[in-house]
């Protein structure tokens, strides 16, 4: 089952990403990868989460000019077009099994561009998951929950989130510094 709102938003992301790739509009592709973050935070469904990871990973690969020199690049670009069209087709029909297979093929085809790219893809997929989990956390979900949704641990997510501006938000402060320190002094018997 997929929620109608989630289906509508993913279809929009897929269609816009397809056009962005066709016109080599990378800023637009990057923007699309953030469109399902709200749904990922609210519904926490695998479809909203996986599309944001796949589109962001695609953006990161396509922005690397050097990769276009590899022999298999054109083959990859053709397969990407095919799989994006397929994923739209399957999603419209709510054939979620084949939709997911198409998304997975996009990532596995990335690793076939070249051995060098393949090494990079593993790191890229991990850093993309960390980035997306941090976005979900920024929207109010705990680190533990956000990490779980992206198949990560707190060990991986906390240092990344700590380096964002997430905790500098005015809503982050729930007690005064003075109250907190006086309380801790009290329990530790510090005068």
């Amino acid at each position: 089952m997929i929620r109608p709102i989630v289906k509508k938003d993913i279809l929009s992301v897929l269609k816009n990403s397809f056009t962005a790739i066709k016109h080599n509009d990378l800023p637009k592709l990057r923007e699309e990868s953030f469109h399902t973050v709200h749904n990922s935070s609210i519904y926490q469904d695998e479809y909203s989460i996986s599309i944001s990871v796949v589109i962001y990973a695609l953006y990161k690969v396509l922005e690397k000019e050097g990769y276009k020199e590899y022999n298999n690049w054109n083959k990859f670009k053709s397969s990407l077009t095919v799989e994006l069209k397929r994923s739209i087709h399957y999603l419209i029909r709510e054939d979620l099994k084949n939709y997911s297979v198409s998304l997975k093929k996009i990532i596995s085809n990335l690793t076939k561009i070249d051995k060098d790219v393949s090494y990079y893809i593993n790191d890229l997929m991990e850093s993309t998951r960390v980035k997306k989990a941090s976005s979900i956390h920024k929207h109010g979900v705990s680190v533990g929950k956000a990490a779980e949704l992206l198949g990560l641990t707190k060990w991986e997510l906390m240092p990344y989130s700590g380096q964002t501006k997430s905790y500098d938000d005015k809503f982050n402060i729930s007690k005064t510094v003075k109250d907190r320190i006086l309380f801790v002094r009290g329990i530790f018997g510090v005068k």
């Binding site: 705990s142 060990w155 906390m158 700590g162 402060i173 320190i181």
Partner: protein
Amino acid sequence: MKSIAIDSGTIISMVTNNLFWVFKHLVKQYKGEFIISKSVYDEIVSYPLTTKRFKLEAVMVNDYILEGIIKVEDPKELGNLSNELLELANDIFLVKGEPMKILHKAEVDVLALAIHLKSDALLTDERALRLLIENPIKLQKLMENKLHTKIILNKGKLDVFQELTKNINVIRSTEIITIAYELGLLNRYITAKKIVHTKYKKLLLEGALWALKLKGCSISEEEIKEIIKFEGFGA
């Protein structure tokens, strides 16, 4: 026996900054127990021991557990309370008609442990858990602000959650390190040639607080500045 219940995030912030050793001294100062739940133990020891990346940190934490500085508690009666808290916490905020799940089971387990043991404090660096206990309206506003959507509060569920957590006092790793600083424990970093170089004390405290923030403690830059000021240093 009095106790402080510790969440996994705090242990991660401390150990990844090589500041975990302060617990050895603080447990004596406190004259009580530092406690973690079984699920926190799994997050910070059992699982990372199976990986390459955080194995060393897990070994270091495990040594503190073997030493008895940190104790693992897994009372049987905790299950029901933990499940109730998890269900309540994840049903409090309704977005577009659906409850938004904000907390993870392990985070709620340690909260349940703190309630069960009537702990003096819950030591957690997790923002959602802290705000939900101390000021759920701020969490609601934060979510509305980020999601650009109206968030409906389930008042009934919130009331029950607040009743269960009314005696919980939340502290973070940054407060712990401030106390360690006040006790002079951090002076070891500014004692070249066996002299405490007091002119570096402000930098020492500032550095420790920023290190914890950058490893994931949910403290703002503004709060760090306030702590520095509260400890007697100018801006």
